[in-house]
């Protein structure tokens, strides 16, 4: 036993020395993702994507000759844990920047920590309050809900549909969407004629949809993440509800089509461009990034890359850019992040400034429709 320990220690020391001898010390980047727990549908692809792109960067020689080292911790979607882990990343691991967390709740909890320690944070969650008002060290890559809502309303306005019914899930994603839908409706001249909710674990939404059928609604907007919207789609088909059905970007993955089956046909939703990467015109600035991401993800994980993973991809690439241009100190990275202009990533084309740490416009979303069990662009 003793011998085992000493051999172990010796080889460990050797390993440390040898890596140190071969290259300059790696640049440490921290990451907080909700890999387990209810938000794992965000955290898992984010962790995978971040790890993938860091590996790719290192294989290609690192950033300015230095390797990147990604230290990932799992918050489990728990804000208290997120705060502890953020402290750990800053004090024990001495990272120069942090990517994540995955949810708005976790991010809001972590913000005071990073602001105090002056460590740049690139959040992968969508909540609008993360970057409004602007906090000096906090950036984000996920698109605001407001942009998705605007996309839907724009289309409805174009089709002269002015009365909509809302069906939102009663969790933080749904209630934030509901708030946005209600506050933006009047700006587009849209009237909300029914406002129903369902709980995340509900298995039958026919009651709500029957009520909506009897309202004067000309379109239905459902805001939720899988599996609820798939149940809504199936129930709508069962009831023969003859209204256009819009979903949120929360279900923009193939999984939704799998779950909803035939009932998915004709459903529209705003989505990041990653879903329809190969359908985009050549002139689209993001096309190259999108295709690279989709291809790499497929090769590494034998699964389809989604826009959640894209948020982490963007965050790592933004950091890489900042380190290349500026320095490897937290302060240098922060300044360079803020100076990022026109970076075409997965979530959109990012241009940060001193007044805008979200960096995207509504062009970040495209409206897609399910046709023959696949996505098609709505023109």
């Amino acid at each position: 036993m003793k011998r085992l320990i000493s051999t172990g220690l010796a080889s460990f020391a050797l390993l440390c020395f040898s890596t140190a001898a071969f290259a300059a010390a790696p640049i440490k980047i921290g990451a907080l993702f909700a890999v387990t727990g209810p938000a794992s549908f965000l955290g898992e692809p984010e962790r995978n994507s971040a790890q993938m792109v860091v590996d790719e960067i290192n294989k290609a020689g690192g950033v300015k000759g230095r390797q990147l080292e990604l230290v990932v911790y799992d918050t489990g979607g728990d804000a208290t844990k997120a705060v502890q882990l953020a402290n750990k990343l800053i004090k024990n691991d001495r990272v120069v920047a942090i990517i994540g967390p995955s949810t708005t709740g976790d991010t809001m909890a972590v913000i005071p920590v990073v602001e105090k320690a002056r460590i740049p944070l690139i959040s992968c969650s969508a909540g609008i309050k993360i970057t409004e008002p602007v906090k000096k060290y906090v950036f984000k890559t996920a698109q605001n809900d407001t942009l998705a809502v605007a996309r839907i309303f724009e289309q409805l306005k174009k089709e002269k549909k002015t009365k909509v019914a809302l069906l939102t899930v009663s969790d933080s994603f749904g209630s934030s969407g509901r708030e946005q839908l209600k506050s933006q409706a009047s700006r587009f001249g849209i009237e909300i004629v029914a406002d129903d909710t369902y709980s995340p674990k509900d298995t039958d939404m026919t009651a709500q949809l029957t009520k909506i059928r009897a309202s004067r609604a000309q379109a239905v907007i459902c805001w939720g993440t899988n599996p609820g919207p798939a149940v809504v789609a199936r129930n709508a088909k069962q009831l023969g509800l003859n209204l256009p059905l819009y979903m949120s970007h929360g279900v923009s993955s193939k999984k939704f089509i799998d779950l909803a089956g035939d009932a998915a046909e004709g459903i529209r939703l705003p989505s990041g461009k990653v879903l329809v990467a190969d359908l985009l015109p050549k002139s689209d600035k993001q096309k190259a990034s999108l295709l690279a991401f989709v291809k790499d993800y497929q090769r590494h994980y034998k699964a389809e890359g989604d826009h959640f993973g894209g948020h982490a991809w963007d965050a790592v690439m933004l950091l890489k850019g900042a380190i290349e241009r500026g320095g490897d100190t937290p302060e240098g990275i922060r300044t360079q992040l803020e100076a990022t202009r026109g970076f075409a990533g997965i979530g959109g084309v990012f241009s940060y400034s001193a007044h805008d740490h979200a960096g995207l416009t509504k062009d970040a979303f495209v409206l897609v429709e399910v046709k023959k069990k696949d996505w098609a662009l709505v023109k």
Partner: protein
């Protein structure tokens, strides 16, 4: 007229959901009656039914019928293992300790399923098509008929079993008085095992037939289990019919409440009923004091 159509739809949707609650409620009652414990891993049996069927179809390439049999058998085995490993060794434990063990087991089962099959929601193709049927201005899916059919079969089957077979009668004897049953030569231990077998099989069967409608994932058992528990409480943890009515009423109230009052209160309605009944009529809706069980 429009309102009438709406109400018909609410009632029919409610009955369909209620039938599911009823099936799950029945499996709660069976274990309660033979052991005096409330098995909070019951929802996990339901989840296992759905998940194992999908696994058998997708990974083992079994046809639907065999997949269903395999899933029910698999879940039953889990039920047997559960009784043998976690319930039986604790002969003199208090019911409270046993109930906590069932909660622990439910967390364990959920965790194992999550590790084996992931966190994604999965879907099972409907047994006989997806074309809605129109009944009196309301619509229904063929899968709903399967649910009603299986529920009726289970009610009739359990009635026959508990009233007309030796084993069934022996199980009822245990529920009336375990000590007396033991004295007349009934192996109480074996009856407890039986009750776990029946209850796991029933739970998983419910899970299989609802999977095409509600989809399934490692964590669907929690809510379904609680709703089934509500149904069983409404029926006073008692004889087949009371629990079935409990489930149907619960389903209808939920659906009518969501449709006519507010969809935000759907789950609140179920749990409000649960609390009211536990406070006011702990013996169930349909019973006068302590009478027959099972």
């Amino acid at each position: 007229m429009e309102l009438l159509n709406q109400i018909t739809q609410f009632v029919i949707s409610g009955l369909a959901t209620g039938a599911i609650y009823a099936l799950i409620g029945l499996s709660f009652a069976i274990i309660f009656n033979s052991t005096g414990i409330i098995n909070f891993a019951q929802g996990e049996f339901v989840m296992l039914g759905g998940v194992l069927t999908i696994f058998s179809i997708n990974a083992l390439k079994l046809p639907l019928v065999f997949a269903v049999v395999a899933a029910v058998a698999g879940t039953t085995l889990v039920g047997v293992a559960f009784e043998r490993l976690a319930i039986r060794p604790l002969k003199d434990a208090t019911p409270l300790a046993l109930i906590i063990i069932t909660i622990g087991t439910s967390i364990l089962i959920r965790g194992v399923v999550m590790l084996l099959w992931g966190k994604d929601t999965q879907v099972l193709a409907p047994f006989s098509g997806n074309e809605p049927l129109h009944i009196a201005g309301a619509t229904l899916l063929p899968q709903h008929l399967w649910i009603f059919g299986v529920t009726i079969l289970v009610i009739v089957g359990s009635r026959l079993f508990f009233h007309h077979t030796i084993s069934g009668k022996a199980m009822r004897a245990c529920s009336f008085n375990r000590r007396a049953a033991n004295l007349v030569g009934i192996s109480v231990g074996r009856m407890v095992l039986f009750s776990f077998i029946i209850s796991a099989a029933l739970g998983s069967l419910a899970g299989v037939i609802i999977a095409p409608l509600t989809m399934t994932a490692y964590d669907v058992g929690i809510m379904l289990g609680l709703k089934g528990f509500c149904a069983a409480i409404m029926g006073g943890m008692g004889s087949g019919f009371a629990t079935v009515f409990g489930g149907l009423i619960l389903g209808m109230l939920e659906s009518l409440g969501a449709g006519l009052i507010s969809s935000g209160y759907k789950d609140a309605i179920a749990f409000l009923i649960l609390l009211l009944i536990l406070f006011i009529r702990p013996q169930g809706l349909f019973k006068k004091g302590e009478t027959e069980r099972v």
